[in-house]
Amino acid sequence: MRNKALLHPLLVALLLAAAACASPTPNFDRGPELDVITPDALALTIADAAMPAVVNIWASWCIPCRSEAPLLGLAHEKFDGQVTFIGVAVADSQDGARDFIAEFGIEYANYFDRVRSIPASFGRIGVPITFFFDSDGSMIYAHSGVIDERTLAINIDELLAR
């Protein structure tokens, strides 16, 4: 009986601790406005990189995008110099996109595509989507939905094995 009496206060304390640990309303230092990108410009950017590329389509209002952002950052750190990482914010606002980039400390290049022309050019809808391009610029795999560590790692491994 005493254990049950302690349980509710303990749960409330845990929730409050969780709230304290999480950031409330972040006040980030926004970077410059994102350049708008078109499908042709993206193809040129990938070709210029002359290496395999991972292109992540995201939006600041997209909850699964928040989940995978740290993972993509980790992958960028690990494979910097071997794979190019590109982010494209779709159906978003400049302020929202810049806040998202600042919040997650994303260091790879990000662009702006309000009308979703990039995913549409590949016949895809929704967010997030992660495209994998080999060094020739050919898209070898597209993952719709939040990407997990295994899928990201194995597809990068595939890119590097080609």
């Binding site: 929730l15 969780a18 709230a19 640990c21 999480a22 950031s23 409330p24 972040p26 909850i63 699964p64 928040r66 989940s67 995978e68 952002a69 740290p70 993972l71 980790l74 992958a75 690990k78 919040e103 997650f104 070898i140 795999y141 939905g145 939040v146 560590e149 295994r150 899928t151 990201l152 790692a153 194995i154 597809n155 491994d157 595939e158 094995a161």
Partner: protein
């Protein structure tokens, strides 16, 4: 909706449910076995909730100001926190018959985990590190051979379940061996999995040590009689 993920989870739940039904063969009464069902599902639900909260906090999202986001499981679930929370909930729910309850579900949990890993076939998610072995599998459109690491893991879980199913229930030893076997199976196969970091090796090593400790220490204490129906 990740229907294939749901199918894999359903396979694991079905496997665990079947093993709970078979628990009487281990010396656990059918009545007690039925009483384990609610704690099992409570542990699963609680684990998912804690895992989701941990993922949200880790991503900088305040669960109190984004309460609706808790339900969006596709946003991510921290498997480490979910596992610990589920085990904790299970231990709390069965604290009065901990050893018997642990033994009753230990082998079943191994079968359930085998079902989960075998479900990689539904999700096309069996592949791991590259290899030239004759049984290597490839991703669609790829010529790179890869270890079917999730199938290796499923096979190890099944082997462990077959080895441990004859252990008598009641002392807690079977539960300890099951935990150790599960941790060892993941530890052994982890090098064949691709990841971006070192993987949860510390968790698996801790699980192995804990399981072996429980298996060794539990039988030394006085046995509790198996729960009467």
């Amino acid at each position: 909706m990740e229907f294939t993920l749901l199918a894999a989870a359903a396979l694991a739940v079905i496997a665990l449910s079947l093993m709970l039904r078979m628990a009487p063969a281990l010396g656990v009464t059918a009545a007690f076995s039925r009483r384990l069902t609610d704690p099992a599902y409570t542990a699963i639900g609680f684990g998912i909730l804690v895992g989701r909260l941990a993922s949200m906090i880790g991503n900088g999202t305040n669960p109190l100001s984004h309460v609706g986001d808790i339900l969006i499981i596709r946003g991510g679930v921290s498997t480490g926190f979910a596992s610990v929370a589920a085990i904790g909930a299970w231990l709390y729910s069965t604290r009065r018959n901990l050893r018997v309850a642990g033994d009753a579900v230990g082998v079943g949990a191994l079968v359930g985990l085998a079902g989960w890993h075998g479900g990689c076939l539904l999700r096309d998610a069996c592949a791991g590190a590259s290899t030239h072995l004759p049984w290597a599998i490839s991703l669609p459109g790829s010529t790179v051979g890869r270890h079917p690491v999730e199938l290796y893991t499923a096979a190890l879980f099944i082997m462990a379940a077959l080895l441990l199913r004859r252990l008598p229930a009641g002392s807690g030893s079977a539960a300890g061996w099951a935990l150790a076997a599960a941790a060892a199976a993941r530890l052994v196969t982890e090098p064949l999995r691709l990841s971006l970091g070192s993987g949860p090796l510390v968790w698996y090593a801790a699980g192995l040590v804990l399981g072996l400790t429980v298996a060794a220490v539990a039988p030394r204490y006085s046995h509790r009689s198996l729960e009467a129906g």
